[in-house]
């Protein structure tokens, strides 16, 4: 195959325009994420009361969802290697059915934010999170995930993932040991177990009156 261009020529013009738009997007996001996004767990206390009324559907749905958490790839920095160690032969996350790491966010349920998030990366992470299919959860792993950690005072680091995406469980540590991460995962599983699905039936069923 021969292409007319000589060997040395580049197909890219310096794509400054592209970079500039990306930078502008980052700035917009930065301006928008001054305040942390509230954690999506206001219902946690309330649901404790509702716990008794859990329907079989709830049990089944939550069981399935919490036993098959597939993670999406979001491994920016050092914590990634503790995550990999967790997946490794000593701690073996596959026991929880979590060894399937999907590269495509469409098929994943859980985002384990293993590492420092810089402002340059933030729009991408937000995008990946947006592109994940519902229902989806986020575990903020490590000090960087919780608060920016050691780099919190840096000009280029997002102080915590909760500025960008709603976080369900915070796992402190720098990096968290695999045990700590597994504990976080189990906390998330407990949280999922308490979730409730509102079933809208197309026709009213007699006898099943909705509480509350």
């Amino acid at each position: 195959m021969e292409v007319e261009k000589p060997v040395e020529s580049r197909c890219f013009d310096l794509q400054t325009e592209l970079d500039r738009t990306e930078g502008a997007n980052t700035e917009v996001l930065k301006a928008k994420s001054i305040a942390p996004i509230p954690d999506p767990d206001e219902w946690l206390e309330k649901s404790l009361e509702r716990n008794i009324l859990l329907t079989t559907v709830d049990t089944l749905v939550d069981w399935a969802r919490r036993s098959a958490l597939w993670t999406v790839i979001c491994f920016p920095a050092c914590c990634a290697f503790e995550f990999i160690a967790t997946a490794g032969p000593r701690f073996d996350i596959s026991r929880f059915g979590m060894e399937i790491i999907r590269a495509s966010p469409r098929q994943a349920d859980l985002m384990i934010t293993a590492g420092t998030l810089t402002w340059k990366m933030a729009p991408q992470v937000r995008r990946i999170y947006d592109q994940m299919a519902e229902p989806k959860w986020v575990i903020a792993m490590g000090a960087c995930g919780c608060s920016g950690g050691i780099f919190a005072s840096s000009y280029s680091v997002v102080p915590g993932y909760n500025r960008i995406v709603p976080v369900d469980v915070y796992v402190p540590g720098c990096p968290p040991r695999p045990e700590a991460l597994l504990y976080g995962v189990r906390m998330l599983q407990n949280k999922i177990a308490r979730e409730h699905v509102d079933i809208k039936l197309p026709f009213p069923l007699t006898g099943t009156k909705k509480e509350g």
């Binding site: 946690l44 919780c146 920016g148 915590g160 045990e179």
Partner: protein
């Protein structure tokens, strides 16, 4: 691909993986079986000893993060510092242990426990009494050999036999 080796390389590799079928897995099943962590583990929290602490703030000064907040007053009677409030943000602390290394009175330790995940960011901030040692908050032997001696021996993977079944 060259077949100079007639697939012998593939066969040898397959034998290795096959052998692993009959080896002990190296897994420790976490919630039930726990590994003993190192005696010097720097867990996900700090332990503070309110008796020993003099309120000298060396720890807060030597922390590269500024993760420790200490408010003190001077007690006019004894001319000593009185710690009003000590607050550590576990989600911000990087468990570097420099504060422990710096404290001249051995009044602050790394925690031994690592299971400190929370649902809310605010819960990660610990203050005053929440920092004291208790049975579920053991201190680790980091920089404190006398505590280290009490702790269980670390589980080592090198000592585990995996070859034979």
């Amino acid at each position: 691909m060259k077949f100079e080796r007639y697939g012998i390389g593939i066969a040898r590799g397959m034998m290795v993986t096959f052998k692993h079928l009959f080896r002990h897995p190296t897994v420790s099943q976490y919630p039930e079986q726990r590994l003993n962590m190192s005696r010097r583990t720097r867990g996900n929290e700090l332990i503070w000893n309110n008796v020993k602490c003099t309120g000298c703030v060396t720890c807060a000064k030597s922390c590269p993060q500024g993760a420790i907040h200490i408010e003190t007053t001077v007690d006019p009677a004894t001319n000593k510092y009185n710690v009003l409030k000590i607050e550590v943000d576990t989600g911000y602390c990087i468990q570097c242990g420099l504060c422990v290394e710096a404290c001249p009175y051995e009044a602050i330790y790394m925690g031994y426990s690592v299971e400190r995940a929370k649902y809310r960011r605010g819960e990660l901030v610990q203050a005053n009494e929440m920092l004291l040692a208790s049975p579920d908050r053991p201190a680790s032997g980091y920089m404190n050999p006398h505590i280290a001696r009490e702790l269980p021996r670390q589980t080592l993977l090198v000592e585990k036999i995996v070859e034979k079944r």
